[in-house]
Amino acid sequence: MLGGGVPVVLFPFFYACITNNKDLAECVDHAELINGPAISVLTIARDMIHQGWKLVASPLYGNFKPAQQPYRTLILSREKKDRHIPADRYSLELIESAMNIFRECEIKRIPGDMPDEIDNDYKYVDFALIEDTLRECGILRCDLHRYSGG
């Protein structure tokens, strides 16, 4: 599913970025762009956690209900070991809790379902909230402002 995360020389981790935010994906090394709603991003991340990946940031970052924000970006890390790594319990608790919140929401948002001006704001805020984390992980290729469009 994932062609492999990004090896970072200084740290014994791979990083992976799963997102349905096209603007953000263009600025991140080897981001996995998902063509679908936020729940699809969460589901893929959940499966990766079962394969030994850990969440780097909270899946519920930002003060949005699922009925509002169609975009979601998750960053995961994995130790550079070949052997089996057991699922991280805290990451699983967080992702399952987040998935429940998205499942319970009656209004399903999908990227691009709002007027461009609002949709761009949502993409912008999604990027803004996770930008520092991407930078810390060493996988941010270009800064947010280049894509804000003013």
Binding site: S58, K65, Y122, V125
Partner: protein, 431 residues
């Protein structure tokens, strides 16, 4: 450290030739001087000033921040240090306060994340800022201005306006109508005093999730701090400033940071049934490593104080719920009793899980209300700002804005409706 708040009671606002508080309690404002003081030609195309008074048929939307006018007249530093003043520490001396007045800033930075203030009708019951006499500033950005630069320009202009109003009133020679005194003794004394009473500290969580979701302490982005101690009086001089564009219902506006009811309440009970030993500030970052670091560090500080109890307040919902519960669990495991203050996103019928995280240790929780509750706001005669955002504002939804101008929204859209510092009237009891 002792701070005297010299409170001038404001009962109305009107435009006039000079800025002063008249004998009848009306704050007269020179619009020309105010706009000249806050002008920012580099970033803002225009600033419009308006007045909104309690009981008027006025809707302010989209609201970014609310600030109480204050100005230091004695003691080190000046209000809003690191923002519109030097970084010298504040919290002692004398500060003039225009009680009953507020500066409301309005702009469409990220349209869906701002709030609504109705000055009359049902919506007015849910926001504390329908009771204040408001000077409203509406900011238009220069073409091409980055959103975070727009936010900064609005933030600084609002703080400047608040400082200008209080400064002008002070310089006009107006004395205080009443004085409030706040004093906490140095640690060496406070730890020994009231030996029989439980030692209680306040863990004050600040919204710090990222760009446009930030809070500033002495001008520093609180996302970058390790948890630290702050004197409760420093908050009253504007050491903590809101810089965020999160949901309106439970973001702590600068006004609320200046008037934190948790701090006031702890002061009120100090020496009676508790020994209030201090305030610890911490952040609500998005990375799990930051969460662990801050939670561990904050509880370590509480342990160094040797406190018996910790009052913990949250700002926002979702991601911060994880910080709230982590702080609670760590403190309880360290033998420190906790009381949490939060709000709820429990669905429109109130039947869903209220928080995104939970723990058995969180057995003393104060709620500020359910932000998903639906409320219908009747049309207002006058709109200050831009009401086309009602359909997309957080708490609003497609069809929120009715043809007759009424609004059907969740409480989430109303500024300060479910404030997690308790600066509101909603609550619930279990018995």
């Amino acid at each position: 450290m002792k701070l005297e708040l010299l409170k001038v009671s404001v009962k109305g606002v009107k435009w006039g030739g000079s800025t002063e508080v008249l004998k009848d309690g009306t704050l007269q404002v020179s619009k020309e001087d105010l706009l000249a003081f806050v002008a920012d030609d580099d970033n803002l195309k225009s600033i419009n000033a308006d007045i909104a008074l309690p009981g008027e048929s006025v809707r302010i939307v989209p609201v970014k921040d609310v600030i109480e006018p204050r100005y230091k007249v004695e003691g080190s530093g000046q209000v809003f240090p690191g923002m519109v003043s030097d970084v010298e520490s504040v919290g002692e001396g004398k500060t003039l306060v225009l009680e009953g007045a507020a500066v409301v800033t309005c702009g469409r930075i990220v349209g869906f994340q701002e709030g609504i203030i109705d000055m009359s009708g049902k919506g007015a019951d849910y926001t504390p800022f329908s009771k204040t006499c408001n000077v409203v500033l509406v900011f238009e950005p220069k073409d091409g201005l980055e959103k975070h630069d727009y936010e900064k320009a609005c933030r600084l202009a609002g703080l400047k306006a608040a400082m200008y109003l209080a400064k002008s009133v002070y310089e006009s020679g107006r004395g205080a109508d009443k004085t409030e005194v706040y004093e906490v003794k140095p640690f060496t004394e406070s730890m020994k005093s009231h030996a029989a009473l439980p030692k209680v500290a306040y863990l004050y969580m600040l919204q710090t999730q990222g760009l446009l979701h930030d809070t500033y302490v002495y001008g520093i982005d609180a996302k970058r701090i390790l948890p630290t101690i702050i004197h409760p009086n420093e908050t009253m001089d504007g050491a903590i400033v809101s810089g965020n564009c999160v949901s309106a219902c439970d973001k702590n506006s600068t006004y609320v940071h200046l008037n934190n009811p948790v701090i006031k309440s702890l002061y009120g009970r100090h020496g009676k049934d508790i020994n209030f030993v201090g305030v610890i500030i911490t952040n609500e970052n998005v990375t799990l490593a930051d969460k662990k670091r801050s939670s561990s560090f904050a509880v370590k500080i509480a342990g160094m104080f040797g406190v018996d109890g910790l009052v913990i307040s949250e700002e926002g919902f979702g991601n911060p719920d994880a910080d709230l519960i982590m702080n609670c669990r760590r403190a309880e495991m360290a033998g420190i009793k906790t009381v949490l203050i939060t709000d709820e996103f429990a669905g429109r019928d109130g039947a869903s899980q209220s928080l995104a995280d939970a723990a058995a240790e969180a057995n003393a929780v104060v709620t500020a209300g359910n932000a998903n509750m639906i409320v219908t706001l009747l049309p207002m005669q006058r709109i200050i700002g831009y009401d086309e955002y009602a359909n997309v504002i957080a708490g609003g939804f497609d069809g929120s804005l009715k043809p007759d101008g009424s609004l059907e929204v969740e409480l989430q859209a109303i500024t300060g409706a479910t404030c997690e510092l308790g600066f509101n009237k909603l609550g619930a009891e279990t018995w």
